[in-house]
């Protein structure tokens, strides 16, 4: 059995979650803490990929990153073609996972006690240190939730990926795309096998996080 989709999927998901972790957390902090014009519009844009069917999201990404798209043209200028590479799959995963990470972190940020941040400041900590040592550690339940949701969503991402990255075995064929590929040629056994791998990876993740969470639970 061809293992390429598995490694590809894992690589794509890890990179996507890595980026989404930083961007999503950053956005959540900025949008939750600072009031400025257009704040709600940015939030609505971040949430958009959640409401758009993935194929539609993929279509927009294709228009954006494609040969004639604004971003695609720019990248083309530098000799980079993103579309139909595994980078496209990663970008698709990022876009659909971002709203989940964002919401996860945001809700936890809302319950962080601002007094603790204040006291940290009297102890000489600047904004960055307060964020890193107080705010984010106290938001960990939401960050963990966000990462779990982002990772699983990434791993299962199919519609947008198929659209922007295609279904190229060994190159852009992630697990869900392989499922589709097997199923559409009637190979239900192959499809079932791939689904089982998806389920196994997601179960491992939930189990690992749950065990890890239990270690930390309620020390505060």
């Amino acid at each position: 059995m061809d293992l390429a989709p598995i490694w590809l999927s894992i690589r794509v998901s890890i990179i996507a979650v890595g980026v989404v972790f930083i961007v999503g957390t950053g956005l959540a902090v900025v949008l939750q803490r600072y009031s400025f014009r257009g704040r709600t519009i940015i939030e609505a844009l971040v949430m958009l990929p959640l409401v758009l069917p993935p194929t539609v999201a993929g279509f927009f990404l294709l228009l954006l990153l494609g040969k004639n798209g604004p971003l695609g043209r720019l990248l083309n200028y530098f000799g980079i073609q993103i579309i139909f590479s595994w980078w496209a799959a990663t970008i698709a995963s990022m876009v659909v996972a971002l709203p989940l990470m964002y919401q996860g972190v945001k809700s936890s940020l809302e319950s962080v006690d601002l007094n603790l941040e204040q006291v940290a400041r009297t102890l000489g900590a600047g904004e960055a240190r307060v964020l890193r040592t107080i705010t984010l550690p106290l938001s960990w339940p939401g960050i963990v939730s966000g990462v779990v949701m982002a990772f699983t969503r990434s791993l299962g991402e199919f519609g947008a990926t198929l659209m922007v990255a295609g279904n190229i075995p060994g190159k852009t064929q992630t697990i869900p795309v392989a499922v589709y590929s097997f199923a559409s040629s009637g190979d239900m056994a192959g499809a079932g096998y791939m689904v089982m791998i998806l389920v196994a990876v997601s179960f491992s993740l939930v189990f690992a996080v749950s065990a890890w969470r239990r270690k930390f639970i309620r020390w505060y």
């Binding site: 007094n115 204040q118 400041r121 102890l123």
Partner: protein
């Protein structure tokens, strides 16, 4: 030397303050809800008065006239909040070390913390999390966390209120000693008249009308505690 002079509108009254603290201990007295904690927060930079001036050792920390607002992290003021506000995710050791970890060489870090924990009699609790402490133990962690930074000004909001009489006496001695040693102003809130005497503290008295609470500096000399109504 600390000079605090401001006027600000709170929910139910106007809070006026006009105090000078020499490098001694100054006690803020006043009934519950009169604005003592609010004054400390404003000195620490955690809240802003509507107008006035806060000046420490010649440096303006806040001035409504000059639109100066020094951020709390640049004020170098130690603050023991009334509700402790310990960092729940850090151990006692890390709580106490929070303010010095970047300023001190790593070799001295542990020993400085342990020494401070011994000063407040909780060295045996160094690896506990705040949720695992008794009320008085938590209060002492908050005290240690502020003391260890050796700030230019120390604000103590009822810092010994949860301690038993013996321990209170011991820590009053320690505070008294530290103030003498560092020679900086301590501003302390307490409801215990005898504390003023023990700390040889000056005090700011509250003049409280219905609409206006005014804290003014009354005596720098040893106060006549025995004249206080008890």
């Amino acid at each position: 030397m600390l000079r605090v002079q401001f006027e600000t509108r709170l929910t139910n009254f106007i809070l006026k303050t006009d105090i000078v603290a020499e490098n001694k201990i100054l006690v803020l007295f006043g009934p519950s809800g009169s604005g003592k904690s609010t004054i400390l927060k404003m000195i620490a930079g955690l809240a802003m008065p509507q107008n006035g001036l806060i000046k420490l050792n010649g440096r303006i920390l806040f001035s409504s006239a000059d639109r100066i607002k020094v951020k709390p992290q640049f004020r170098n003021i130690g603050f023991v909040p009334q509700d402790y506000a310990l960092f729940p995710h850090l151990t006692v050791k890390d709580n106490v070390g929070y303010g010095i970890v970047r300023k001190i060489n790593p070799g001295d870090y542990e020993s400085r913390i342990l020494q401070m924990l011994e000063t407040v009699r909780i060295a045996h609790l160094k690896d506990r999390f705040p949720k695992q402490l008794s009320g008085g133990e938590a209060q002492r962690v908050a005290l240690a966390r502020a003391l260890i930074t050796e700030p230019a000004l120390l604000l103590l909001d009822e810092p010994l209120s949860a301690l038993d009489a013996d321990l209170k006496l011991e820590l009053q001695e320690e505070l008294y000693g530290l103030q003498k040693q560092w020679n900086i102003p301590f501003v302390l809130v307490t409801h215990d008249y005898r504390e003023v005497e023990r700390l040889e503290a000056g005090r700011a008295r509250l003049t409280m009308a219905d609409e206006v609470h005014k804290f003014t500096f009354s005596e720098t000399d040893r106060p006549k505690v025995n004249t206080l109504k008890l």
